[in-house]
């Protein structure tokens, strides 16, 4: 129950970080907030020979709102996302989702970049990224690139990040700031989601012009359900129920100790319905009805 031996690096600049990553590559793990990595080290589920700590690298903890989006540094904590006024104004869905991550002591330390790089299929940030047309900023000594959320999450704990790359930022669109919903079922407050659903819409003249429905906890990665999105933009009087049924029917979850496949399908129906109803009643100030 103690971490294995490893060589520890604490780079003080981004170029120094990228250089260490290039040298250590596959052998290294990146330490952000440590709220997933430290348990894995303690349990010896991870036995890296090198640990590279982002904690002293400047410039990875800013929150800014450039043209139509919010850009969040990888080292921004869940707690800051929960309390930051820019996030609340421009990406209120992200603010709401942040409060569902772990317990306060976890949110104080854990980071958004660490969460998406870890890519737990039941985590909140991946579906928020999917719902808000997000992308992930990556840096390496070869340069910078942005990967759309849909291309970033590949499988359980597996992403498009290459071994010499580090997640530097997340970008969320602010187009959905006025119509969004988030609903999650946890066995116990602070547990990972059994199922979580994020919904984001653009409403024009009372019609749903665009919709995103993203689901966590039902597959090896976060999923977007286009059938549910189409149900929302179709504009029928029963759009919410149609979307919930579509979401339920587009997934094929496995059974595990947290819930059977059929239980998860029922949960997806219920949580999608809640999130959609919330999205369609969110007022112009961007505040959900709960």
């Amino acid at each position: 129950m103690k971490p294995p031996r490893f060589a520890y690096y604490s780079p003080r600049t981004l170029p120094e970080l990228l250089e260490v990553l290039e040298e250590t590559g596959d052998e290294a793990v990146v330490l952000a907030g440590g709220q997933s990595l430290l348990p894995m080290l303690n349990l010896r589920l991870a036995t890296p020979s090198h640990v590279i700590d982002l904690g002293r690298v400047p410039g990875l903890d800013s929150i800014a709102s450039p043209n139509g989006s919010v850009e969040v540094g990888a080292m921004v904590t869940h707690r800051r996302m929960e309390t930051d006024p820019i996030v609340a104004a421009v990406a209120p869905l992200a603010q709401r989702a942040a409060g569902y991550v772990g317990y306060l002591a976890i949110r104080n330390r854990g980071t958004v970049g660490g969460s998406v790089a870890h890519a737990d299929p039941a985590a909140e940030w991946p579906i928020v990224l999917l719902a808000l047309d997000g992308n992930v900023g990556l840096a390496s000594s070869r340069g910078w690139r942005n990967v759309a959320a849909e291309d970033f999450f590949e499988s359980v704990y597996t992403t498009a990040r290459r071994p010499d790359e580090v997640v530097t930022s997340l970008r969320f669109s602010s187009r959905f700031a006025h119509s969004w919903g988030f609903s999650e079922f946890q066995r116990r407050t602070g547990d990972f989601a059994t199922v979580a659903v994020a919904v984001a819409c653009v409403v024009e003249s009372g019609e749903v012009a665009e919709a995103r429905v993203a689901i966590a906890g039902v597959a090896d990665r976060p999923l977007r359900c286009r059938e549910a999105e189409s149900a929302l933009t179709a504009g029928s009087a029963s759009a919410a129920i149609d979307a919930a049924e579509a979401a339920r029917d587009c997934i094929d979850p496995v059974s595990d100790i947290h819930g059977s496949s059929s239980f998860r399908k029922r949960l997806v129906y219920a949580e999608t319905l809640r999130a959609v109803r919330q999205a369609l009643t969110v007022n112009e100030a961007g505040i959900g009805d709960g």
Binding site: K2, P4, Y8, Q35, L104, A105, I106, N108, T189, G190
Partner: protein, 161 residues
């Protein structure tokens, strides 16, 4: 080994640590501050909760080296130098908010944070806030009483005896 320099309970501490040393083990083994309890060692139970720069953190989910240049407060800070019990500790005593006491240091530090950030909260918020601290004895009821009493002076039900 690497040198770290930090503030623990208001006092400077300088030490050589192995990078893999957990903050919880550093506090207990190197500094002798055994009030911080180690329960599950993977972030589930909350017994090792301390404050780092004023915010709660699992000391088993932090390397000691990550606490370099930070300020750490442990349960020992609540009743330093033989002073009487901290009001939160007194409330736990009065309300029977502990039995075996293993989880208590982590709970106390979580409540210190709650008192600083949301002192006017009610029982539901207290339960929500304490969701990351597992107690296997009390059933939580008297803990919530104690926290309510500590935050509001009342109406948490005190032990009659």
């Amino acid at each position: 080994m690497a040198e770290i320099s930090l503030i623990v309970n208001g006092e400077p501490a300088i030490a050589q640590v192995d990078p893999r040393t957990l903050l919880s083990d550093f506090l207990r083994d190197d500094l002798g501050l055994t009030g911080t309890h180690v329960g599950c060692e993977h972030g589930y139970c909350g017994a090792c909760t301390v404050l780092v720069d004023g915010a709660s953190a699992r000391s088993c989910l932090m390397l000691a080296i990550q606490a370099d240049a930070r300020s750490v407060e442990t349960v020992e800070s609540l009743s330093a130098n033989g002073a009487g019990l901290h009001p939160i500790q007194q409330a736990f005593k009065d309300c029977h908010g502990l039995q075996c006491g293993f989880c208590t240091p982590g709970l106390l530090m979580s409540v210190v944070e709650l008192a600083a950030t949301n002192p006017g909260c009610g029982r539901d918020e207290i339960r929500e806030h304490l969701s990351g601290n597992v107690c296997r004895c009390t059933g939580y009821h008297h803990i919530v009483d104690a926290v309510e009493r500590a935050l509001n002076g009342a109406p948490g039900r005190a032990d009659e005896s």
